[in-house]
Amino acid sequence: MKIIRSYPFLFFLAAAMTVAVYFSLATPVVGNFGDVVTFKMNGTANSIPVLLKLDRSAFDTLGGPHIIATDRYGTRQVVRIASKSQIEEAGVKPGSSFVAQVEYIPAERTYVLGPIERVDPVMTFDFIPGLGELGRNMLFHVPMSMTAFLAFLIGTIYSILYLIKKRPGYDRSARAASAAGLLFTLLATITGSIWARFSWGTFWNWDPREVSIFVLLLIYVAYFILRSLLEESEEKKARIAAVYNIVAFVSVPFLMFVIPRIKQSLHPGGGGGEAPIINTSSTPVHTDPALLNMHWIMVLLFVLLFLWMKDLFARVLAMEETTEN
């Protein structure tokens, strides 16, 4: 546990968190030529960002300035550009990849290059139809929910340990873990409902997972209410609260894993549908590897952040108890 409090670890966590959040927000979300056509045809967007690789045979003369570029799926297309300088000023050389807005003109059956946004990007995320830029929320909302579940699990394990070993430290850790879990649940709710506003149209619409997270908040608020209403010795308070924590945790897997999978849900995996979270079907839904890897990095960092917060909360509780005595 000592390493969690050490400065090198904290510096690492702060730096890694900053870099990860930067990449989560700044990594371009790109489509391909097919997406450009789809979006133009159904009127969703005139142009979307596409990751292009400039072929060597660029700047030829096809009745105007053109380039030949390949998208991520290896589709080669002729793309009209405004002028040769558009490419040269951005610093795009043959063979290098870049992200640019691409528009499709159905009448002429040609692609037109819009503003160039990024040259040689470190990584890109897949354009998810219907989500677009909103897909980034998977890097915050989902890791937060996962960390919240882990926090409640760890809190319950500490409660069990407390009942077995009767060491006050375990009780403080259980409380600290539950408090941090409550915070992560709240953050997951907030990120989720802001996302829902822009994706589903309302902040809240009682989706099964929204019911679940709402009840989870109630459970752990009730846990802290119970503790404040017990008028017993510290030891008995801790014992009774530990029992409630364990009893309450019985319903957590039902709320987080069972009910949202059975009921019809707007979240992935509802109503026996295909679930990118836990794939059970024979034809699983695949998540973009870059997005998925970034997601696991965020999970790791949030879990480390949780461990640090849990340690901090537990130390604050220990100090409060010392000053009270």
């Binding site: 009942l163 008028e231 009893v247 309450a248």
Partner: protein, 222 residues
């Protein structure tokens, strides 16, 4: 079953028959709930989803009024100490749990009769499945309120606390039973529709009863 558990059960029933405190409070609560529902929806066609929600709201909060007393009464009368001396904690849990289960099942019976009598739209299509999910739901509520009323026997704001603590814990059960009740009100052959709900209820009941049974000793002993 340990003889001390039967003795405790007999004692609780005797007290209940003498005072009729629990039963009368719960029945009053139920009738008031039914009256409020009836007055607020005059002449309206109540859909099965609304009726099943009302039914479980009445059953849950009715249960909370009646079952909260099981340990609070012992603490208030000062008999909790004698009980601790007299019987091992596992037979106390079994006795109290069975008493709460009996209370909950009779409450369920009265609720069903009241709903059948007062609401024309409350027409159960699949009785065996309806009774099955009713018994499973009642068992879960009885088991959770047994352990939680032992917990709040030791807290300050005893009266209001049980629903606050119990509702979030019972939420998976309430979600599953309201759905199952709705389906049994709608279709005659409901097994396919409610199978998943019944499985949730069964696993929840077993898990929560076992956990409560194991942990009761920790709450009960001083």
């Amino acid at each position: 079953m340990p003889s001390t558990a039967t003795a405790l059960l007999r004692k609780d029933f005797t007290i209940e028959f003498r005072t009729r405190f629990g039963v009368s409070a719960v029945v009053m609560f139920l009738l008031v709930t039914v009256a409020v529902i009836a007055f607020s929806t005059p002449g309206e066609q109540l859909s099965s989803s609304i009726l099943s929600a009302f039914f479980w709201i009445a059953l849950f909060f009715g249960g909370m009024t009646g079952l909260a007393r099981s340990f609070i009464a012992e603490e208030e009368r000062g008999t909790a100490f004698l009980l601790r001396v007299y019987a091992p904690s596992d037979s106390i849990f079994i006795g109290k749990f069975l008493f709460n289960l009996a209370m909950m099942l009779s409450l369920a019976l009265v609720s069903v009769l009241a709903f059948l009598f007062f609401f024309r739209d409350f027409a159960v299509k699949d009785w065996p499945m309806f009774l099955l999910q009713l018994v499973l739901g009642a068992t879960g509520i009885a088991s959770v309120s047994t352990i939680l009323s032992a917990i709040i026997g030791r807290a300050v704001q005893k009266g209001a606390l049980l629903p606050v603590l119990a509702l979030p814990v019972l939420m998976p059960l309430v979600i599953a039973t309201t759905d199952a009740t709705r389906i049994t009100l709608e279709v005659a052959n409901s097994w396919d529709g409610i199978r998943e709900n019944i499985l949730i209820l069964l696993s929840f009941d077993v898990a929560i009863t076992l956990v409560s049974y194991v942990l009761f000793d920790v709450i009960w002993k001083d």
